[in-house]
Symmetry: C3
């Protein structure tokens, strides 16, 4: 049984198959309209996220399936002290596949230990949100015709943005991709990520604090929001903020075929006037997110036929504890191990960094 908890749970070849299937769904929707007849998806949202929930539910309906919808767990069994593992095990008595969102990092990894049905991570705190990355890559591939040989700019909060990290990791496996990181220095890409995701693999990148300077060379611009809360010094925020707002003037600096993505919701980092520009692809990205979730549900349920995944080493590794684990209490206050009963407190060695360990649930360094 396969699950999707983080985007590198799938190999590049598997992601290609998923995108091929998505293309086919767009081309032949009538072929899939009863594909999940009699199947049920449970959307277990321990915290609300309307957009993501509706995307999963629309996906399941377009496949002819049913949905058991939980838009918020705030006042339910979870509040009565039930473990995430029990909740997921119970949901598996009702549904054939589960998409879960949880405010605590690592929660779906705890759930994977006991689930009897395929599990999709629809976001666990600041940790992972792999189906957003699926939407991103399908949009790039459909709009640009390829995922390789692209200059990809990422702008805004590159320090905390989980969708940024996931997209960089995912695209770094493709040939000829070059990254341009555009952010204030306070919100730059973490050094460690640059090192392991890019430098070790000889993937070229540059860093700048100027969106205007970076724009002319980009094939793809991935916008995110620069949040006021990230700044200790508000005067610094005030001085910077407008430089990371994409408007009609800045769009004039971009190539005629540069595409603009954004994981949404936006607040003010893209002027609504840009929406009418054909290069603005963030609403297409929403649509593509639904299609990729359809492809994902089909694949995990084993209903993708020839388009499904072969058995892979990566699949076999999923859910197994890494070698060399030691007992250790995680210090991340948002880690699921802080509250979940019956979850062993374990840390795994970080490859290439002797003596450094990470929590096996939330990946926080210990």
């Amino acid at each position: 049984m396969r699950h999707l908890l983080q985007s590198d749970d799938f190999t590049a070849a598997e992601l290609d198959r998923l995108m091929d299937l998505a293309d086919d769904i767009i081309a032949r929707p009538e072929h899939y309209k009863n594909a999940c007849e009699g199947k049920k998806l449970a959307t277990l949202f321990f915290e609300p996220s309307t957009r993501t929930r509706l995307s999963f539910e629309a996906a399941m309906y377009e496949l002819g399936g049913h949905v058991l919808s939980v838009s918020s767990m705030a006042s339910s069994s979870a509040a009565k002290g039930e473990s995430v593992q029990d909740t997921v095990r119970v949901a598996g008595c009702y549904a054939d596949i589960i998409a879960m969102r949880h405010p605590q990092e690592g929660a779906p990894y705890a759930a994977r230990r006991v689930t009897t049905v395929p599990l999709i991570n629809a976001g666990d705190g600041a940790h992972h949100h792999p189906t957003q990355t699926l939407a991103d890559i399908l949009t790039i591939r459909r709009e640009k015709g390829r995922l390789d040989h692209l200059t990809v700019g990422l702008c805004g909060d590159l320090k905390y943005g989980r969708t940024v990290h996931s997209l960089v990791e995912c695209l770094s496996e493709r040939a000829g991709v070059r990254f341009v990181f555009i952010s204030p220095s306070q919100l730059a890409m973490p050094e460690q990520m640059l090192h392991t995701m890019l430098e070790e693999k000889n993937v070229p990148y540059t860093q700048t604090d100027s969106l205007e300077k970076a724009l002319p060379e980009l094939d793809v611009l991935y916008m995110t929001r620069v949040q006021r809360e990230r700044f200790d010094d508000l005067s610094q925020y005030e001085a910077l903020k407008d430089s990371y707002v994409l408007d009609l003037a800045k769009m004039k600096l971009a190539k005629h075929d540069c595409i603009v993505l954004h994981p949404l919701p936006r607040v003010n980092e893209i002027d609504p006037q840009v929406d009418a520009d054909p290069r603005a692809c963030y609403f297409k990205e929403v649509y593509n997110g639904k299609i990729m979730r359809m492809a994902l549900i089909l694949t995990l349920l084993g209903l993708a036929g020839g388009a499904g995944f072969a058995k892979s080493e990566r699949a076999a590794a999923q859910g197994k504890l890494p070698e060399g684990c030691v007992e250790a209490q995680c210090s991340n206050a948002h880690c699921i191990s802080q509250t979940e009963q019956g979850l062993p407190h374990l840390a795994a060695p970080v490859p290439g960094r002797p003596g450094v360990y990470r929590c096996v649930w939330c990946d926080h360094l210990i």
Copy 2:
């Protein structure tokens, strides 16, 4: 593409077609049970309203369609600062038609600017709630056999009741309708409405503060609640309240074929003992509301066939800014323009009142 944001978005002839279709749905339900197969309705309720939401959802299910249900947006994207326009545009990537409810007046009018699918206003603050009016008129037509040549009493809070205003406007277009407005003077129909809706069109009406005196002449009695909160002087409320409660004793004063409507929920303004009286039609009204929503969904989706709307001038005018608009900040604290990004602050001249302008979003006079 047609939308329904306020009841006069449809002409009297269009409303007649909608009621004809509703009659046919009641007569031949099996004919419609798969009419919306593969279609999805999103019920975007930015504030909860269980009754209205369930009515829309039941309607869609009886047409064989699917529902993407959002019962409350309180802790979702909207809370993260997303605009109503973005939320509706995203929902249009998932659903084929949207019913939205919003606490801010004018919100669906802002959404109409960007929506890619038909939009139904399921209530925007104190502004409009047109599908309630659809339920009202179908009930009158089915129970009385006609919408014209009726004496219609409206009782209770006539000052603030949006369903009262909408029903009066709607029925005032029918021949031979006479209104009797029954309320304490503090809650009487607004002068301006009496003028534009009735006097200018020579529609007869009378006003009284006595339900008992008015009852014997009525063909239709539309009850609403007199809310304590509306009174500055509570002793006045205490003195008045019982006179606007419909009970078995008062029902004896009514014609044998007078029908009683109420938009519900009621609190105590109709004694539950009246429910058993065959003239009490408020639960039939609930049922008819579901049927009219079915007819509406079919029509807006273009699935009503010959029963659909022809192209009309009124349709063409929908969504266009009126002539003579000027820039002006609305002073209504509940207007969507107070918070929505990228929404121009505009006011339109009020016909027949030189120098008077109304907000184009919430209709508040400026």
Copy 3:
């Protein structure tokens, strides 16, 4: 029209038919997958209970029906002062059958007065929760092959546990059943229940405070939680709590074919390590709960065919006020009669206890 508000609304013979139907659903699921096509279940949860709601919704979907889902009424019509009776009457205009959960005891009994469709009690405060009992008895019958001639241990909070009381009452009608009540003295079975449910019918039982001593003789162990809040003296709770936690060590004392049930959610009263033991049946119980709800929905909708209920005396008695009722205000602060408009305040004589009356809505002694 039949309803299920408490488990003894059905006779033992009717419960047997329901379990036979459940067995057939498990054996031939494809036979039932369209059985409720075009039907709608409303899950009216005035307070949230995700597990129970999802179980009903999964049941309806597996029968091919639709669901109108209300996960919480907190900020809806109910908050505007609408009566439970009005809400249920309105829901009956939308749905073919209603499952309702309400924090106030007796609420579904008030709703039964006016409902136009079959009604299922999905829990009313501490009063009744009959579909949990349906899950319990199906699990016992499927795992043990019978409901009679069993030694049934019930452990934990036997004083307040509504599912305990209901299961005892239900099994006490079967031949050869013997009960072992395992609890601290503070949480023992109420004397009155022992008297009327067991002693008067000559059903044998024993009482003990030692789970370890009781375990070896049990065919069925029904675990519940010992809640800290039930103890005035916390040191007493601390001293006791571990003795009512089922772990691997205690499981060694149980028969090889003793089954363990739990209504869930659990907190820590069953060690998760026990889950892997084949005698642990609480997740099967969850699954069986869904199946019994399918059987129940089919039966109440009159779609069970030959497996349906015959007309019975018990059915005829349902919803009728008992003889000898007197007017009396209930003193239970959680009784629906404290807030519901238009509900007569009535008490009925308790059989065999001259001069003692119980509230007809919540059964509280007056």
